[in-house]
Symmetry: D2
Subunit: 342 residues, 4 copies
């Protein structure tokens, strides 16, 4: 059975990545592509790497007839997304890739995003989209809120450890290195090639990055009490990839065993043998997440490192994985592409 798919916000990187992945999906057909600023153009004009595909031209959201659509991906900017989704038909399945429905508490949303939520009642029905941990809820969800790409990476290493109680909850530091495409296709001076190439730096230092809202929400829920980690993202001159280096207190062997057990049956999350560590180059362009654990020289401390592709497992791949669940497709369909190296 073929599912009819719409993508709103198709002119951004996550929109393009969705199209790339769905192109190999045997049971999905893209029937509408919306991008208000580029309406009227073909997808091949906006993204020439997709020109070989038979795709509908870009239209405005208003032009879409949702009656025949089974599932809609929203890859719109934050804030726009909540306004659009609030007005979509109630019988439409939706996977949102924006930040708008990630935080369940409206106060937390307002704290991290600076404005009151425009659709708090829709927020209530959203399921958090970290597939491996919300799988059953996602199957029956109408609206799934895709996670932040940094938030996903950090949770892959920390959730099982927090749940199992094998690390000190008050001593978690996450030092994250992310590629440039995570910042999207927006026109900012600090995203120019001449600015970024050959240099790197930290940003949102000291606990101001919005993905901390997700960490706080999820880790506190898991622990049953407030958990606040330290989190510093860094921008690296590469297009794709997130490498999260976690510093935790606990026994490395136990930490490794906990993670290995947690992901033993997961198709996309790979725990490396004890002592090995991952590289972003080995997951580039794929839906895989590689995790490594190393004991520190100081007893009772460990370093846990995860690598994933921010556009795939961190965003559009996750979205497709969730859509598969919502449409009762095998979860891995369209997502087993091998990483591209070199």
């Amino acid at each position: 059975m073929t599912h009819n798919i719409a993508i709103l916000g198709a002119s951004g990187y996550t929109g393009a990545e969705l199209v790339r992945l769905i192109a190999t999906h045997p049971n999905m057909r893209i029937t509408a592509l919306a991008a208000n600023s580029k309406a009227g153009q073909s997808m091949g004009q906006v993204f020439p790497h997709l020109r070989h595909l038979d795709l509908p031209d870009l239209v405005t959201i208003e032009e879409i007839d949702f009656s025949g659509i089974d599932l809609c991906f929203c890859a719109l900017p934050h804030k726009t997304s909540q306004e659009v989704i609030a007005n979509l038909p109630r019988d439409l399945k939706i996977v949102d890739l924006s930040a708008d429905f990630r935080l369940r508490d409206p106060a937390a949303y307002e704290k991290w995003y600076g404005n009151p939520h425009a659709a708090p009642e829709v927020q209530q029905e959203a399921v958090y989209g970290l597939t491996e941990f919300y799988r059953e809820d996602i199957r029956s969800a109408r609206l799934v809120a895709g996670t932040g790409c940094n938030a996903a990476t950090g949770q892959y290493i920390l959730r099982p450890l927090i749940s199992a109680g094998v690390i000190d909850l008050d001593e978690i530091i996450l030092d994250l290195k992310c590629g440039v495409s995570g910042a999207g296709r927006s026109l900012k001076e600090n995203l120019l090639h001449a600015e970024l190439s050959e240099g790197y730096h930290a940003y949102s230092v000291g606990g101001t990055h919005r993905h901390l809202g997700e960490f706080d929400q999820e880790f506190s829920a898991l622990a049953g009490r407030p958990v606040e980690i330290q989190f510093t993202p860094h921008l690296i001159p590469a297009n794709r990839g997130i490498l999260a280096t976690g510093y935790v207190r606990g026994e490395a062997a136990q930490i490794h065993a906990t993670l290995a057990a947690a992901y033993a049956n997961e198709p996309f999350v790979v725990v490396l043998p004890m002592g090995e560590t991952p590289s972003t180059r080995h997951i580039r362009g794929s839906n895989f997440c590689h995790i490594g654990v190393v004991a520190d020289r100081r007893a009772g401390r460990a370093i846990v490192i995860a690598a994933l592709d921010n556009l795939t497992k961190g965003s559009s791949g996750q979205a497709l994985q969730n859509a598969n669940l919502m449409l009762s497709e095998p979860e891995t369909t369209g997502l087993m592409l091998a990483p591209v190296f070199p």
Copy 2:
């Protein structure tokens, strides 16, 4: 029907790229992987990006039992390849990715490669592997010689023009820009990241690059008289991609029409609308080749530009395309992956 596949030279980039592509092929099963220098290791150790695949461990070539193998890819270094292939079973289909069987004339081989050919009798049965132009011969070949990646790119823009007689045969200049992975995984000082990054240069200037042997052979055969082009490759600080800028004499509209007609039914070669030009970023990681034509401001001159991925369409993708033909599979199977951008 599943075909059993062996890959010799699996520890190089073209070997890894073959594995990446075949992983999505429904009717091929990799049953042997050889890499003498890394025999005993798993493919995941040598190429961690392939660790999710269920693959045989690396062995030496001598350890392979070829009796159950249907087709063998040889991704060995030049010169080694001819020695190995001369000793492979006669009933084995072979796609060679080295330079060893590209030149039909033993004297030409010796001129460009500096040593007499070790298996000239095997050379005689080799079919040149530029799929779009040798398709019928490839279907029934025992041994197909994969083209040089630069040679493929130049031929895609020039062959139809030479055949149609729409350009001046004595005034062809090809200025080519290629990514680093084309040089392979060999340990050379000039391939270090610190040497290459952020700089670019020409190499093999003045007509000394070995791929000229292929151009001379193929263009002269097409024209029915000697054709010698000018050819200058440049090394660009990017991993994948070849961009070939051809300067030719002829009417741009006629040139465009000739190319458009030649590739009208080709699944992988795309001729852009008149005046548009390609970018390597839009074919990265895929088997597509994009071609553009622009008229120069001086009448009677045109610029013809092609872009392809040296590891895919220029090498391992081409090899798989040829293997599909040899095994009576649909030609595009396993090769319709969309390019990875950004």
Copy 3:
């Protein structure tokens, strides 16, 4: 004697490069920095790499008192520059880095830039700023028009050959590869890191690049008859550098001898031994230009290649070299910095 220097347009890359170079100049003092969009900020805020220097804060052009200024660099956008310069005091020496005063013929200016020149009378007194060829005129000039960075690179290889009559004037092809910083600091989608990194392409193909106006003007003047070359620039994922590959008709030995003689006493233009070719990595960050000549395998044809840094020798370094001449300083002062490699 210390010269007081103003820089208009200090918030762009060429402005910053001027400051970097002048910082090592013993006899120049920067007394005014203008950047209307960032007036009020310190230079260290706009360019943190210059924060260790003792510099005046950015002001608007209107705020500058030019009475004490000896020389003014204009690193403003095209079109703005002509309007500003027309209103500067008549006794001020000016080095303009924009395109506004490069073309002597108002009709040529309008043809290439699309608008009538706003200060044609000022244009008449401008001296073309290619130092090695206009040195004496520059010494006594009030206004020097810095060349295009691509135009400079092409002229370094072609001017001596045209003057000496050793190449065929109707058969000149220039295939140029330039780094990203040449496009400046403007906010354009195609200059984003995620767009450019790891890919490359041609642009302004077919004779539409504005620097052709300079080539036409200069080469025709040298030859005493119209000369029109073919010119294709390509954008390469590196920050700095231009590599110009010239295809010419003539005897390579004579071509090499002509270039070697032309630059024998030049401090910044280095002709490599016959057969060697340059790389942008070996001139990065410096005012040097390296030139190489190779004979093609086809008699009577040669490849001539030049490498320089677009921001230094192609723009701000050239500007400082000219300013030295205008202020009767030794020409090389502040410009002997070695290239930065790796």
Copy 4:
């Protein structure tokens, strides 16, 4: 007065960087360049970016007559350095850039480097080369041991804090990101451009990096009791630069004040205003080190970040700074070059 300088190991990156810097030094003359593997070649052949300089050809170490040499830089590989230096004339001033004389305790040396020290008696007279903290000893030293580039970066942020007692000595984590040139010019598969470009990873995780020997030695000496930090380096696809992100316990305002006071009169170490953080792109190619401090959202925790260029301030620039002191030159001579951006 001109000092005669020899450089041993001139064919590596730190050797070339020394030549680049000394080229602008008014009172140093390079009179001997040794590189055993490339003896007989000119420096311009080995490093074409230095071809404009008038330099002696490369010789073997044995060929050097040290009688007229005032100071010798040793940029040799570890282990070779100690053997060579043990046999140099006793009246020669030496700045060693290798790891051989950094650790004062022979047992610590053997622990971190795996072999007994070949010249322990020479070790005893070596002064640790972190200029800002050993300035007076360096002035009168015969042998100065250049620090590890990572070790220098970490010490710049941590030494003043440990000395002042404003951070918890048992809770120091240093997450470091370094560019590729720090690994030198050696032929290793993992340093190839195709391997490194567009990916990043941690290495020597868990307390195995040799620069920890320096941290342990220096921090314990400062604190008067054993101090063991956690340290994880990461390899970033850029040529130059180290960014060290330190996680410490203490009051951010006090930490910032302590660092600002410590470096108030230092010419090369810049403490940014509270809350600002550095980027490697703003110190590239220069001898500057930028330091930033940010308070974490959790009280009593701070993030301290330093950026420097591993080849300059982290190695050859530091060496020249020390040589200036040893030769009674102004400390900053030859080192005030502005960073190169973009």
